[in-house]
Symmetry: C2
Subunit: 306 residues, 2 copies
């Protein structure tokens, strides 16, 4: 079936079939190391984690009018859709390897829009040598949505959970917080390199990536670890134009928040400044005993469905 | 935060936070074999394929008003959302192990509706000992969608692609075709057991699961194998109430279509009848040389976006 072209020369999804679209999109996908059979078959066949490493799985999605608006560039949307789950790989200190993409879009969308979304997905995947090994598309009468699932691996002794924090641990945050919605949320780079360096050199007790905002994610991390927390609001590292409330509540920072023993703190700060001279690392507070009831109340970050 | 209840006593998604919802949904998830860390952390950590087996990845989605309508039972919707990617595991003869679920739903949906969808997802996963290791939710201003990604494994010598078919192969189909939309599409059981038995006992050249209908999936299988095909339309196994056109075009049969050498055909039919006495296995045609130009035109099955 030959796709018809609209008057303006811009083909819409409703004018071509799914097979043709997938063929068009997936033709340009890099087939990387460890891919035995990628898109084009019923399921992707890949080489699993080697040498007793553990497998790591994460899925995440972006929805039109929720995670991006219609003014966002398609490349930025695709970039964000891929980088969101990769940010969770940073949180557990794992290496991403393979991704599956589900694209849900109405038939009035232009094929060029979808192609540009895939360009963003591809660029983001290539940044971390991730192979996109499967694609699925579906029509919808509603807003577009992109769901990305990623599989990767981590060494048994290196994965970091949310639950290993201890009272007395110091809390550190990478980068700067607040105001991400102005631009950063469509072009952030997940802190995978930083996370891998951290676990290669230090014992990180608990870690999370800041997606919903410090005001939501810090209580989550503390709750999972069974501890309380205190932060110095005035010491929060702020993005240009952001204030303290932005840093706590805006969300979508995709920076790392982690806890570490106080005795490692000096060495961490020294080595970090040498390794990542352009990226601030800030001690923002500490974990406390849960019973002391001195955890400060933070304004809430972004909560879905509300 | 305590969820408020609406006048009718039915809480809606907009009235509770994402954490609370996930907690509610994931509390009942079985944490199966090989799960080191499941939902509740940033990413799931699981044991990968053992003994040199390959990893298998597949994602699929169902969208409201596209794959199910508002009259479908939530349990049926959840069942279907999980079973669709599992049907692809049957197609490549792999064993599914772990699943990630993304639920996109508007805030007007009742929490009970979501809970019942998860009941369907759980039942379907339990049927094949699959552990749901991660959940993600998002709001939407549009129709609901559920995306399920599954990871599993297959022995290197047992995975079946779409591309191994040869001219002269006989084509077999499991079960009966047509009319799935009336009920079967919400309660089908993927042919994983049958597929695993097939590859344990025979050399299956090429295989696909019939999701878009024979009229679409058979040409796909033939194209991937670089061959033509002929079918005997009158020999298609029909579901009660379905005619030949339904069998070719309805889609959502989730039966297996595979090709095998003619010399294995007799033994296959004998052993199959003994192993699966209640499930028909029908020879519906054969693969031909591509150059003979005698591939019959089939009415098209279901094509997304159209």
């Amino acid at each position: 079936m030959k796709p018809r072209r609209s008057a303006a020369g811009r083909t819409r999804l409703g004018e071509i079939g799914e097979d043709l679209l997938l063929e068009k999109l997936l033709r340009r996908l890099p087939s990387g190391e460890g891919v035995i059979a990628g898109s084009g078959d019923d399921a992707a066949i890949v080489v699993g984690p080697s040498g007793g490493d553990l497998a790591v799985l994460k899925t995440d999605c972006v929805v039109e009018d929720v995670h991006f608006d219609r003014r966002a560039t398609p490349e930025g949307i695709g970039w964000k859709a891929m980088m969101r789950p990769l940010s969770d790989f940073a949180a557990v200190s794992a290496l991403p390897k393979f991704a599956l993409v589900t694209l849900i879009a109405g038939k009035e969308k232009e094929v060029a829009w979808v192609t540009r979304i895939y360009r963003g997905l591809n660029r983001a995947a290539a940044r971390f040598r991730v192979s996109i090994v499967g694609g699925e598309t579906s029509g919808t009468p509603g807003p577009a949505a992109i769901s990305v699932s990623v599989m990767g691996q981590v060494e048994k002794k290196r994965w970091v959970s949310r639950s290993g924090g201890k009272a007395g641990d110091l809390l550190f945050v990478t980068g700067r917080l607040g105001g991400s919605i102005r631009a950063k949320h469509l072009r952030f780079v997940p802190r995978i390199a930083e996370s891998r360096w951290l676990t290669a050199n230090f014992r990180i007790h608990a870690m999370i990536d800041l997606s919903d905002g410090l005001g939501v994610d810090l209580p989550r991390l503390a709750r999972a670890s069974g501890v309380g927390f205190q932060i110095n609001r005035e010491q929060l590292p702020l993005n240009r134009g952001a204030n303290i409330d932005n840093a706590i509540s805006d969300g979508e920072d995709y920076e790392l928040l982690f806890s570490i023993s106080p005795r490692d703190s000096k060495r961490l700060q020294t080595l970090w400044a040498r390794k990542f001279p352009k990226l601030p690392l800030t001690q923002i507070g500490c974990f406390t005993q849960l019973s002391t009831r001195n955890s400060q109340l933070l304004p809430r970050g972004y909560v879905h469905f509300q």
